[in-house]
Amino acid sequence: MGASHSASEEVRELVGKTGFSSDQIEQLHRRFKQLSGDQPTIRKENFNNVPDLELNPIRSKIVRAFFDNRNLRKGSSGLADEINFEDFLTIMSYFRPIDIAMDEEQVQLCRKEKLRFLFHMYDSDSDGRITLEEYRNVVEELLSGNPHIEKESARSIADGAMMEAASVCVGQMEPDQVYEGITFDDFLKIWQGIDIETKMHVRFLNMETIALCH
């Protein structure tokens, strides 16, 4: 970041909006520029520059999450074509570690935001429910790293998981009742006992990181 006045103004604005510190913002800006090739926006193709991402089984979902309008808070469905730095930071802010100093309410809010991000990852068609197909899709992707497990196993696991979710969320079901999918509230219920806040974070270091330039 240059020493220009407007740049630091922007930074301050971003600090306010996203909660990152200015050092972190600078780091991320550098990274953004690397990814975008010095362009002001990033497109999906730019993510191909991250070689390690290739090996990630849920690569497509992650990339998609960056462009998801719901995550960017720009709408309730659909994908953006390109994102600018502010959007990039918005997505990254979902992964900030929860500050111990925050009070209970804020912690709950953060938690909900993180869980919402996750929910959007599962719910690819933006209909507000995670249907079985979507769930299956996720499980297949997760298991895709292992050649021994075939699709059927993935499906059964997804089915089983769905079953479980249904019993957690809905409990006793009438004989003719149909469980259509996991809504966000159900999703919250499932995650009730688990400390997501301890798991879903990335350490954005303030110091010079060893940026993995490839």
Partner: protein
């Protein structure tokens, strides 16, 4: 010195006591009567015999000296084992009292008996025996059963804490005691600085593994558990290294004139010894993993390879004056992953059990020794020394815990709370390690050895009994953050997803983190190491073979069910309904989770519940498996003869119907369900024999199923071919893993449909495949079909 047994003695223990008394009494009587000192050579025996004129040939005589050592050792071990049995028979005791309490109590008891009967105990323990034979199994077992993933996640904190903690504690205690010794009033003037330091190092050797069982019972959070475990693992190594260095210093003739150069050399040596040990361990680990790659045809020697190489790593490291303990630990950790994949199932079990057995034996012997030393005349009680030792141990441990964690918390994303730190402080229970080191102090260099031994014993007894027993209540009182071990598939899935998500985001940010180091290592591992070290043509992972076996089991169950009359199967609907609301049974969930854990992109091992003294018992599922496998072959044979199975027939034969999982694709479901349901039932009636047939077709099945576990609740066929209604009021029978949550009949489309065999060889019959269990031939009349499937399926063990 009197000693009170605080372990409540159950009736079994009284029995043991009697046995022990009798045997010890018997042995001491014999000893006295033969009127000889502890050991005689064979020669001496013969010589003595030849000197005396033998007048008659005695028909019955006893020769106790010949067998004394092994005999007594065996008796001790047996006694300890019987005590353990008694201990575990009590329902709540193992969770409250650490097992080392029990062992120490037994040791003291034996000591009391030996002392009381004035029997000279065989010198089983001396320096070389301890370091060469008794110590390695204990360390090997600790390293082998270490849960690797949590360890490496916290490795920074663990190394920082274990390494520096031991050092701070050792030097702190040593120096403080030295200051105390300077005070003339205590009569400790002849204890030099080096001796104090040495004593400090040996008394700081903690062995908190003893409390791990108690902590696990209280379900403390994973990082805390791992921290304590890691400390236990590394502390031995560090203490021994320190001990040896200080002994070397002590032996230097000019020890009053130790230069700073020597001290620096000592530090450098410390590092070299540690790192060198680990290096050798890793090398040997790889070698042994490599060798197990070729042992396919001679699997009986696999455990031997594992043990010999580990032991060899220890010995080689010791030869070079490197840390054998760290070597053997590193060897175990490295070796484990590859060896587990290479060796046969039985060898794997053998290795586990044998390891536990060896370490158990070693530890028992050490504790017995401790007990024997306790009750005896060779004590030197010095009030000041003992009390100050005790006090300083606690003080310095507290200092090291709080100081070191204060620092490491700055670097951790999720710092350890003060409560966690208190628990870590309080878990500083000493054990066999410190006693051994004290016992083995060379008397020539340490004229006041007895005092040291006494003080060490006091610290051990105090920490094991007082701290060990009260740590459970303390954890509960402090309400330390617990793990949420939710046994659910969802949790597993989500956590995995999270891991990948994190990795992905970190990649995008270009951050370097723990996670990525691990990632890189895994890639390296996959690309190179596994190719070299793991056998080729490995049959599909053990998970898949597990599934096969479970499928067969299901088949057998169904076969059995077929024997029963159909009347018995009109299971009342309400009962089923109730069943449905149950969640997936723990075994089902567990098996599903097993698949997930083993096959997801990154293998993650949860912290296993590590119990030093026991292995987790097998689930009954596995036992059923065994039975199954034995029976399957007979069944298969019988079926083959009896019927021409449709399995081999080409596509086009609609033979077996599988009830598929409810969520099949609508179009397929619609098309097939109706057709299949209505017609299939009647069709194949004649074609297939009853359920046992499934068995032979196992292989096909397996193809179709592909080891899917956890099948989903399926809907049963409606009677008379009526279309299934959803809502799964029928039982959600699946394989034995019947999902209780059948209620979630998820889609309104025709869910149930049967898969025909003609469908492309199972590729497509995902649903069918997935349903696994419920493949009962639709030939049976639907009602019987379901019911039959109901009962065995519902009948979970």
């Amino acid at each position: 010195m009197g000693f009170q047994l605080r372990v409540p003695l159950s009736p079994w223990n009284w029995l043991l006591l009697l046995v022990a008394l009798k045997s010890s009494g018997a042995s001491s009587d014999l000893n006295e009567s033969t009127n000889s000192s502890a050991q005689h050579d064979l020669n001496v025996r013969f010589a003595a015999a030849s000197f005396e004129p033998a007048e008659t040939i005695s028909v019955f005589s006893l020769d106790y000296d010949y067998v004394q050592i092994p005999y007594e050792v065996t008796l001790w071990i047996l006694l300890a084992s019987l005590a353990k049995i008694g201990f575990h028979l009590h329902p709540r005791l193992p969770g409250l009292v650490p097992e080392s309490c029990l062992l120490i109590a037994v040791g003291a008891l034996v000591g009391a008996i030996i002392f009381g009967t004035d029997h000279k105990s065989p010198p089983v323990m001396d320096s070389s025996i301890y370091f060469l034979y008794l110590l390695p199994p204990i360390v090997l077992e600790g390293g082998y059963f270490m849960p690797t993933r949590p360890f490496f996640e916290n490795v920074g904190s663990i190394l920082w804490w274990a390494g520096l903690g031991a050092l701070i504690s050792a030097f702190g205690v040593g120096l403080s005691l030295h200051l105390v010794c300077r005070v003339p009033a205590f009569g400790l003037g002849d204890v030099t600085l080096l001796q104090s330091l040495l004593f400090g190092s040996l008394v700081s050797a903690v062995d908190p593994v003893a409390v791990l069982a108690v902590l696990e019972e209280a379900r403390v959070n994973e990082p805390l558990y791992m921290m304590i475990f890691g400390e236990a693992l590394l502390n031995d190594g560090i203490s021994v290294v320190l001990y040896n260095i200080l002994i070397a210093f002590t032996k230097m003739h000019k020890f009053e004139d130790i230069e700073p150069v020597d001290i620096l050399a000592g530090c450098a040596r410390f590092v070299v010894v540690g790192v060198g040990g680990v290096f050798f361990g890793v090398v040997f680990g790889f070698i042994s993993a490599f060798i197990t790659r070729f042992t396919e045809n001679i699997s009986a020697i696999e455990p031997l390879i594992v043990f010999m190489f580990s032991y060899l790593s220890y010995l080689v490291a010791e030869t070079l004056y490197l840390s054998g303990i760290l070597a053997i630990t590193a060897c175990a950790v490295t070796m484990k992953k590859y060896v587990e994949e290479n060796v046969s199932q039985k060898s794997y079990t053998t290795i586990k059990y044998f390891m536990k057995m060896l370490s158990s034996v070693s530890e028992t012997l050490i504790f017995i020794f401790m007990g024997v030393s306790t009750v005896g005349k060779n004590h030197e009680w010095n009030w000041a020394f003992v009390c100050f030792t005790l006090a300083f141990c606690q003080i310095w441990r507290a200092i090291s815990v709080f100081a070191l964690f204060y620092v490491s918390n700055q670097f951790r994303t999720f710092p350890f709370s003060i409560k966690d730190q208190c628990i870590i402080f309080y878990s500083g229970v000493r054990g066999a390690g410190s006693f051994s080191l004290a016992f083995l102090l060379p008397l020539s260099l340490f004229p006041r050895k007895k005092m040291f031994v006494t003080a060490t014993l006091v610290v051990i007894y105090f920490t094991v009994f007082i701290q060990g027993i009260t740590i459970g209540p303390l954890v509960r009182y402090l309400d330390v953050r617990k793990t949420n071990k939710k046994e659910s598939i969802n949790e597993e899935l989500h956590t995995r997803l999270m891991d990948h998500l994190k990795a992905g985001i970190e990649d995008v940010c270009g951050q370097w983190s723990h996670y990525q180091v691990r990632d890189r290592f895994k890639k390296f591992d996959h690309r190179y190491l596994r190719k070299i070290l793991i056998r080729k043509n490995l049959p599909k992972s053990s998970i898949v073979s597990l599934y096969k076996k479970l499928e067969v089991k299901q088949a057998i169950e169904m076969a059995e069910a077929g024997v029963l009359s159909s009347a018995a199967f009109s299971v009342p609907r309400p009962a089923q309904r109730i069943q449905e609301t149950k969640r997936l049974s723990p075994e089902d969930v567990k098996s599903m989770r097993d698949i997930l854990t083993h096959n997801m992109y990154q293998v993650r091992q949860r912290t296993l519940s590590y119990n030093k003294y026991n292995l987790k018992p097998q689930t009954s599922e596995k036992q059923a498996k065994e039975i199954l496998i034995r029976r399957q072959s007979t069944l298969r044979a019988s079926v083959r003869k009896g019927h021409s199975l449709p399995w081999g027939k080409p596509a086009g034969t609609k033979n077996i119907r599988y009830l598929s999982f409810p969520y099949s694709d609508p179009q397929r479901a619609g098309r097939d369900a109706r057709v299949a349901d209505c017609t299939g039932n009647n069709d194949s009636d004649s074609e297939l024999p009853s359920s046992p047939f499934y068995t032979p077709s196992r292989t096909e099945w397996l193809q179709e199923r592909r080891g899917t576990q956890g099948i989903i609740p399926m809907k049963s066929l409606p009677r008379g071919g009526k279309l299934p209604s959803f809502g799964s009021q029928r039982k959600t029978s699946r394989d034995e893993h019947v999902g209780g949550g059948g209620r979630a009949a998820l889609r309104p489309e025709p869910l149930c449909h049967t898969v025909h065999e003609e469908r492309d060889s199972g590729e497509d019959s995902e649903e069918g495949a997935s349903t696994g269990g419920s493949r009962w031939s639709a030939e049976h009349r639907p009602s019987r079909g379901h019911h039959r499937s109901h009962s065995p399926l519902l009948r979970r063990k």
